[in-house]
């Protein structure tokens, strides 16, 4: 059966529509903040260009087809790893490769191409999923504990490199993707539990290695409660590992500034919001990163609870349709990839919303498709393109169970389909 790349099946078009709607919501927010600040619409036009580029990229990926890309999964993974190396070298040696790796906010996250700053860690997300899914398509690779070492290693190397930049948010985001893919692939629960246990035991060690500002990002989740701040002030020694009394005293001005702002922006939006381009936090500059990490707060400010639920609904569409695509396909690789894409997009969205509402530590996570940022947008569209591509290759005629020959078409498909395990 021949599928043209422009022919989107229903699930694919739903995902694409949700992604594009989210993008438009983001554009509206960026436009509103820039309009209020009296700036030229630099970011709005940039984001529009990124969106166009993303759509083109999506078309290209659909044209190629996920399977042809998947065959080069390791190569892609390797290249993404290579791209991660220059920022690390720059961080260690403070050598900028002739301006190729600029320092922004004391981090080395970008590779500066003409007219476009590329974040290799964003590309890594997709490459990592591809590599992982490609590896885990064989049963023997995930049912044994030894087999799990490879995926752990595949995660650990890029995680270390990204942590060097430093980019704690992206690093931590790898973990749910890894676990969900392992889980979906069918890894034994006790193996996963063991890995999780090791991770938990390592947490205090990691905590002591965090930078002060990174720690304060985590501690502010607890510190948003006034009672807790009073406790810190009353017993500074006891809570020394978490925060200093001065941080507690200066909560609203210091480490809590963003969170207090985002909560006030969200809360004051109420159910219906202030309207597009209206409201204190849109008109004045009280909320930093409002087109970026805190775009969700601005959505809530402008459109209230309804706006937030709408955005949440869009991610819900991506999730449900994405999981449905994973259900429908019989290929282990495609399944794992689909699950991975959904996990990546949705966990990031949930984490970002958690940050905005004070449920999660603020780690600088962006809201996929909505936040400003070229690399992130391209990556997310790439991931979604892969998802759509998977849905395109779905055998429409089969409602429940795939034909075996559909599986056998591909030469290196595993003998036993994953679902019959």
């Amino acid at each position: 059966m021949k599928h043209h790349w422009w022919h989107l099946p229903a699930p694919g078009s739903a995902v694409a529509a949700a992604a594009i709607v989210l993008c438009l919501v983001g554009l509206a927010c960026i436009f509103a903040t820039e309009q209020a600040a009296g700036d030229e619409y630099v970011n709005t036009s940039k984001q529009a260009v990124y969106l166009a580029a993303s759509l083109v990229l999506t078309a290209v990926i659909l044209r190629i087809g996920y399977y042809r890309i998947a065959q080069h999964a390791y190569l892609i993974f390797g290249m993404a790893l290579l791209l991660l190396i220059p920022p690390c070298i720059a961080r260690l040696t403070h050598y900028s490769f002739g301006g190729l790796v600029p320092v922004r906010r004391n981090t080395y996250r970008w590779i500066q191409l003409p007219g476009f700053g590329l974040q290799p860690s964003e590309l890594m997300k997709v490459a990592y999923m591809l590599g992982l899914a490609w590896y885990l398509r064989y049963r023997r690779n995930y049912r044994t504990f030894g087999g799990l070492l490879i995926p752990l290693l595949m995660s650990a190397v890029p995680m270390m490199l990204i942590l060097m930049e430093p980019d704690l948010g992206t690093t931590l985001q790898t973990i749910p993707v890894l676990f969900v893919i392992l889980f979906a692939a069918g890894a034994r629960a006790k193996h996963l539990a063991l890995v999780l246990l090791i991770g938990l035991l390592a947490a205090p060690l990691a905590w002591s290695h965090l930078e002060t500002y990174q720690r304060s990002r985590v501690s502010l989740v607890l510190m948003q409660s006034r009672e807790f701040r009073d406790k810190i002030i009353a017993q500074p020694q006891r809570y020394r590992w978490l925060a200093t009394p001065r941080q507690a005293l200066e909560w609203e001005k210091d480490i809590g500034y963003q969170l207090v702002g985002s909560k006030a922006a969200l809360g004051s939006g109420g159910v219906f919001g202030h309207g597009w381009g209206q409201g204190t936090y849109v008109e004045y500059n009280f909320l930093p990163e409002k087109h970026n990490d805190f775009v969700f707060a601005i959505i809530g400010h402008q459109w209230g609870l309804l706006g937030c639920l709408f955005v949440l609904g869009c991610y819900g569409v991506i999730t449900l349709v994405g999981l449905n695509i994973a259900f429908a396909t019989t290929e282990p690789f495609a399944r794992l990839l689909a699950v991975g894409v959904v996990t990546m997009v949705v966990t990031q969205a949930l984490l970002n919303m958690g940050e905005n509402t004070g449920l999660m530590p603020i780690t600088g996570m962006t809201l996929p498709f909505v936040s400003f940022g070229g690399s992130s947008l391209l990556t997310n569209f790439m991931a979604v393109a892969l998802l759509i591509s998977i849905s395109q290759h779905r055998p429409f005629l089969l409602a429940d169970k795939p034909f075996d020959d559909d599986v056998l078409i591909r030469p290196d498909t595993p003998i036993k389909p994953a679902r019959s395990l």
Binding site: A184, A264, G270, G279, Y281, V339
Partner: protein, 732 residues
Amino acid sequence: MFETRLKILACVLMICAAVVVGRLIELQVVNADVYRRKADQVLLKPAERLPCVRGRILDRTGFVLASDDPDWKVCIDYDVLAMDSESQEKRADSLHKRAASYARQNRYGPGKRRQDVQSLLEADIKRMWEDLARLAGKPQFELRRQAEDICQRVAAVRQVVAARRGFDDTVREEEQPHALIEGLDDQQHIAARLAMEPYPWVSVRSGVHRTYHNAVSLAHVLGRVARVSAGDIENDPDAEQPLRKLLADDMVGRSGVEYLAERDLRGTRGVLLKNRNDEVLERTPAQDGQDARLTIRLDLQDRLYAELERSLQAFPSLASGGAVVVLDIPTRELLALVSYPSYDPNRFTEDYATLRADMRHMPLRFRAVANSYAPGSIVKPLACLAALATGRVTLETTFYCDGVYPRDKSKRCWEVAGLGTRKAHGEQRAEDAIAHSCNVYMYYIGDLLGVDGLTAFFEMVGFGRKGGSGTGLLEDARGINPTRAWLEGRRPVFPNDARNFVIGGGEVSATPVQVVNLVAAYASRVFQPVTLLKRADHSPEWRLPGTDAQWHAIRRGLYRVVNDPNGTAHDYAYIQPSTGYALCGKTGSATTRPWPISYRVNYREHDGRQAFAIVAAGDMGQAMEEFHALHPDIEVTPRDAEVFERWPQVDSLHGDEHAHAWFAGFLQPLDNLRQPDWSRPPRIAFAVLAEFGGSGGRAAGPIAQRVAGAILDVLGPNLDPDAPSRRIARGD
């Protein structure tokens, strides 16, 4: 299994989403009001403080002596003011912020980019300084230096606040405008408004300045206000009250009553809370400071100042200044506190350099309170009382005066010492000795009393006591009571000391206020600190030892000083009995060496050349200070300096030595037979001091006569301190 696991995954994600939705409902529905308020708060402008008027200072009769008068001032936002003195980075940051806000408001026309706005803004700020200089009539650099001073003050405030809080952060002063040009009248105000209209960071606001009314005679008493210093803020007793505490722009009492009554005079600010749309959310009105009421009568003060001035200028003396103090004996309220010469408090800043440099007259010295002089013979009655009360002598004990003290031939009676002719007082009782101011009698009782016996009584009348007289003024000097303990750290105690102290010489010293209070004690046998401010409560009083008969003898002696033809002040201070009063009192001549008025400081120039400088200074410390101000980079020690010039430069007109002339006395009511009516206690005591006036009788006596006349004239025949004032202009 795959499906199961996907379902589990879907469930987990859904639970997460549900948590987020729950949180959103909590934020946006349940607690929406809380956050709405918070969002409104973000929009609040920093609370504006409404200025309060400093309390007035009134005289006893209600005449206004000092008040805050309204004027206008040109204020500039701190960030613009600080652009000169701050780092390049901070300056760029301030500019950037302002430009962004102006671009948003389309102040420089719609559609302007921030970068363009920023360069326009910079040009505007430059132009503002030019306009300000034109408005103030001062060169730009002077204004900019003023701005720097303000920034330094704010930095000091920030330091103090940081020390108190335990961490450094911006202070409110950094978010507020500060006055750069002050004291504009209504017309200048309009000109300023017009000139400053294009600059949104400049505001013309109403302000106040301290004005003193008819107060040359009271300049020292009233004192002055000055801009707060970091020390003031650190020691501010109201630091805990945000609306009362001192801020960097405040004026605070520095000296005189302005300092003394600071807590009363200072008002409580109001608060004005507005949001960014200039809607008033909260307004607490300011409470003006309370008035401080002096016990001094302006009419008496003015009159006595004029009398003192006329006397000191007419009298052929070397007097460099003087003081007159009038005291209401029953209440110990000061009715006049004159120091001559004085200055115009409204022109203090302009005249300061001249006033300070005048070392001969020292117009800035608050002589009545801050300078202590040897009291001379005025302490003789106290010495007699000490001898009588402790039983060393009786009222009938006599000592024979043949002009020379037989135990020490160098100690002579004053008339012998003064004129060289041998004229003896003969047999002297205590009363006679007071009337004749007989030194020989005093030497005898001085030997009987010893240093300890004398200083115990000096202590009783407040000599050398901290707070001195009780005025509470910052300037209040303690005087010196040379007790054995005091002497021990300084020099050995000699047998001659008691003989010196008993005639008010040696180290003994007292301020004019202490002296007038001593005389009030003679008149009432009670010691009580004086008061300068009208208060409900009175200081505690101490009844001095001695029997009625002994006190009576003292008073009779004081009566005879003036009213007996042989009394030392009879020729100079006698007033007619027809007034209904007799002047009783005691003269005093406190011998002294000329005072240094300038110093010569020898120093080496940077090129090694030997050089010297003459600086006007009253003592070595001041000389060092003045020299340092002149040549800040050259190190000198007191060894390099010597007295260059002293005052008086000529020999004394009367006698061998220079002396400060004293007269201190009280007005004793007379009966119908024009004899003193001892049953009626005297009401008014006063003291006169003429610095370098010479002999007490000759120099201070005539002034005392005039002072007594003026007191009778102003207070009326009943000597009522609250007699209605004849002044027409009244404050309330």
